[in-house]
Assembly symmetry: C2
Homo-oligomer: 595 residues x 2
């Protein structure tokens, strides 16, 4: 029987001890009330809902899957009750504006609660997760009338939101889009076209669905500069703002997928559906991308969230399953064999997952704190710097964390041997579910291109240089602490490698545009590893201070994992740097026909 | 629509040009007739059956899956016809003894044909694959009466074979087994017990099923030394050697699995079933392991075989899918966008898969040639050396090739973006199917332990040292060829690293048994990469000789891929060596409760 326990202690450690979240919130107007006690209460209560209500629907939801019948989508049994527990408990509106019924807490609080929601049921989590993305886009770009009409119901969870970007012939390249929006005399538009892969395009959890649809207004510029964003509800709100006339948003079918089977990926056919412009004409991609950083942080977090559940179940199995004997002599002398946790290679898989998950958690929470700073800090320069830091780190979070999440889930599945391959045990579902995080919201290859092609060159490379300087400044501050040397020395070596690769890349990219793409993924991994090494060095520093003679507890464990990351995972930076520098020639040498 | 084209040209290159297979066969009595023409005819004809008959059942077989109803298992529609095409065409009996109706060709020919069978339908391939394993065990250990009674029908494919090892509480640790065999007055035994994960334990392709069952004879030694091997047919052969009385081999259920859904993983309940001893009492594990090298080579090959199909479909997609523009300017100027094959990062995924697949193919065929040598060479010393080489390389083939196969399949799935996650496109099936190769026939962690714990120490390390010497001798022989330097130099660096790690490990393992397990997986990967670098250097040497001004064809492509492997994949050896040397202390530092 699979289990999930919310990692409240670790979230508290990262928020309070590593990042001093409340100290950061204190500088942000409106967040003064986000105290340690409040945060802990939120984590504890939300964790219970995830453990007790959501997780119970995870495996059955995968077995049943979302069902399409005659245009209507039914979600698996139990989803409606679980969704109700989430929304009525206020767990999906933590960071929403109190003007619309939200609780006005930091985005960071939304992210950490969402991590637990994803861990306990990733498929279900997508519905409120996408609704929040739509909320952010509307709150940022829609006019007041639209906001007043739609946001309260979205914040309460009565109505859900979707993002409708992809068409069958264009995913990454949105400029090829064919969906059309015809302007009407009343200021509205008639939207027509087909979108695919629309998560939650139809479902039976909410009484209405608010689609955010990218489409072209005829006569506008070609390509991506002619794309606008529209709000298109499933049912047009009536005078009481209740769902009224059906708006021809037809779900033509749902995809059979590898995983997240409880979340319907819909083919949506808009046929003269009424929509309203969100933001300016032909600036739809800007509005969509404004929430993209947020969405991509969310997706990266999904990687570690699913890996967390996979880890917990693999560790439980490893402590129970009796096979063979410890290489150092029997430990379970009364039993027929020892639990497999005695084997170094089983520990390797578990500790690799643990070092990845906890490092990733520290990193995403750090970036989400920067989102709050970018949203709220009174000082413009601080806001702008935070915004650029978020922009720089977004592709790292999205791609590196989802890659690590997948790797961790595969490793944890491996711990169970043949049982890991059998559906009953649940492990293979985590692998299938988490795989999508490497693909959607821009594939990880697209993230890598975003990092090296757009983010590194920001301000002539200064944003990246500021980040490197911060890593060096952390290392400098630890120089007098001799028991930090084992963490700081490998971190500094990695920062050197990262900086050299960065400067090489700026130079090579200026000479040959293919050099950027050729290095992209390996550079992203190199930077991801270095960023996480920074987090682990920080966690080691905090833990060394708290250790106080306890060599077996929480802080001792953190220090061991920090060492493990430095010694066994961080050395990958060396081979990644070699791949970065191998350049584009080999990749471009073959004709397309030779593939 | 997914496609598969048998890689006949590449198989011919590896067999004839890289390994001089016919030259090797010429030294093996009985294989004189395995000429280039014969080999090519086999490859061509078998390839057509795989392309035209087997592959058509691959995706539908996954959708339908094996079905259990009231104790009987039905395989997906089309499997029976495909199995018939395989067996009646003689494609499953290539290497079997002519005395029992086989064609007496080298095992190598069986492996290369089997690669194509796996590529076109991995789930179905398991039935004849396991039958061949059972054939080898019986041919090696059963008495003449059992051989005469069972082998002709197994060779013809009328009867299938299984391997019944695992019980619910013991997979890796067979000494914990509970199945019992009671000796009968007529020399037979009554077998009782439950086995799980029995692939093909029941199916409707063959008229009888021959189970090879491990069980304990009461009163024998404890643990693995008291395990014997028995032949237990589903139906007892009657006087005409046709299937007669049912032998109480009951299939209690089949597992719901992540993949290979067309292959039933059965719970088998033996209830006083009649069986006959194969080999000696209490020596069952020896008989089972005698075929294990062969089985593990087969499983490792499955990794690249499935990856081959994944690659072909990813490459086809990348050449067709239009998204964005080449970084060096548009190439498809009349179209709305360029095919995604123009992007260096897409090429990176495809070339990584290609370098892994072709390198892996060269390696497994090399080892399968050693199997033939170990079986047949007239010189005892050559036979023994070949046998030890196979033993050394078996865990590399099983684990490294299945790991690379999974990684390649995941990379190829990634090329398709969202479409890779949708079942319709077939890519996610390859990922799900190939995943099992990392798990069954001994998990890859068990393989790594086998390598470092049993294989490296063989003859005091001499078997490994002989292998290292062979790698160095290859490098020495190329030293005067300046255009080989770019391949030989990185190979030699990898061999240095491998040798240092090996000597370090022998030394560290002598001091602390946990050091062996702690290094096992990373050492295996280090050795796997080096072995494949050897193959690529060899393929580069052959190709440089044949190049003859053609810079775009088959040989030029091989050279580019060899460079790619050396520059972008082989550098991983450096970080793996660092992980090997990090030692066991960190892995063993935490109490089990800290996991």
């Amino acid at each position: 029987m699979a289990t999930y326990t919310a990692p409240v202690d670790d979230l508290r450690f990262v928020l309070h001890e590593l990042h001093d979240a409340t100290g950061q919130f204190a500088e942000l107007p409106g967040f003064e009330e986000a105290s340690v006690d409040l945060i802990d209460a939120v984590l504890g209560e939300a964790g219970k809902v995830c453990e007790n209500v959501l997780f119970a629907t995870n495996q059955s939801g995968d077995e049943i899957g979302a069902q399409w019948n005659d245009g209507a989508v039914t979600l698996p049994a139990g989803y409606a009750e679980a969704y109700k527990a989430l929304t009525e408990g206020g767990w999906t509106s933590l960071s929403c504006d109190p003007e619309f019924g939200g609780q006005g807490l930091p985005e960071t609080m939304k992210f950490v609660v969402e991590e637990m929601v994803v861990s306990s049921n990733m498929a279900l989590s997508l519905i409120p997760g996408l609704t929040h993305g739509a909320y952010r886009a509307l709150n940022g770009f829609a006019n007041d009338e639209l906001k007043q009409r739609y946001l309260p119901k979205m914040v309460s969870g009565q109505w859900a939101g979707t993002m409708c970007l992809t068409e069958a012939h264009c995913g990454t390249d949105l400029g090829l889009m064919r969906s059309r929006a015809e302007s009407q005399a009343d200021g509205s538009y008639k939207i027509s076209g087909q979108k695919i892969f629309i998560t939650g395009g139809d479902q039976d959890l909410t009484e209405n669905i608010v689609h955010l649809v990218l489409a072209k207004i005829p006569g506008g510029p070609n390509g991506i500069k002619g794309v606008s964003l529209f709000l298109v509800p499933k049912f047009l709100p009536d005078t009481n703002n209740d769902p009224g006339d059906y708006n021809n948003t037809n779900c033509g079918s749902i995809e059979k997928k590898m995983g997240i089977k409880g979340a319907p990926a819909c083919v949506m056919n808009f046929d003269g559906s009424t929509g309203w412009l969100v933001g300016e004409e032909n600036r739809g991609v800007r509005a969509m991308f404004a929430m993209m950083n947020h969405e991509r942080l969310w997706v990266g977090m999904q990687g570690l969230a699913v890996a967390e559940t996979a880890y917990q179940n693999a560790a439980a199995y490893a402590k129970e399953r009796l096979q063979g004997r410890s290489p150092s002599g029997p430990v379970n002398t009364d039993g027929p064999a020892d639990p497999i946790i005695v084997h170094p290679d089983v520990r390797r898989m578990l500790m690799t997952a643990r070092a990845q998950i906890e490092g990733a958690r520290a990193l995403y929470i750090g970036v989400s704190l920067s989102i709050d700073k970018a949203d709220r800090h009174p000082n413009t320069a601080v806001r702008e710097a935070a915004d650029k830091r978020v922009a720089l780190m977004t592709p790292i979070i999205k791609a590196f964390l989802s890659d690590m999440g997948h790797e961790s889930a595969v490793n944890c599945q491996q711990v169970l041997g043949g049982h890991g391959y059998i559906r009953e045990w649940g492990m293979e579902q985590y692998v299938r579910d988490v795989r999508i995080a490497q693909i959607y919201e821009g594939t990880n290859g697209v993230q890598a291109m975003d990092l090296v092609g757009r983010k590194l060159p920001m301000d002539g490379g200064q944003v990246m240089r500021d980040y490197l300087a911060e890593l060096r400044s952390f290392a400098d501050a630890q120089r007098d602490s001799s028991n930090m040397t084992e963490f700081v020395a490998p971190l500094e070596a990695a920062v050197d490698t990262l900086e050299q690769s960065f400067e090489w890349l700026l130079d090579a990219g200026a000479k040959d545009p293919a050099a950027v793409g050729a290095a992209a993924t390996d550079f992203l991994k190199l930077m991801g590893l270095t960023s996480i090494a920074h987090m682990w060095a920080g966690m080691a520093a905090v833990s060394l201070d708290k250790l106080d003679g306890d060599n077996t507890g929480f802080y001792a464990r953190k220090i061991t994992l920090a060492r493990y990351f430095m010694q066994r995972l961080l050395p990958q930076t060396v081979s990644l740097a070699a791949a970065v520098r191998s350049g584009p020639e080999l990749l471009m040498a073959l004709d397309a026909d030779a593939f």
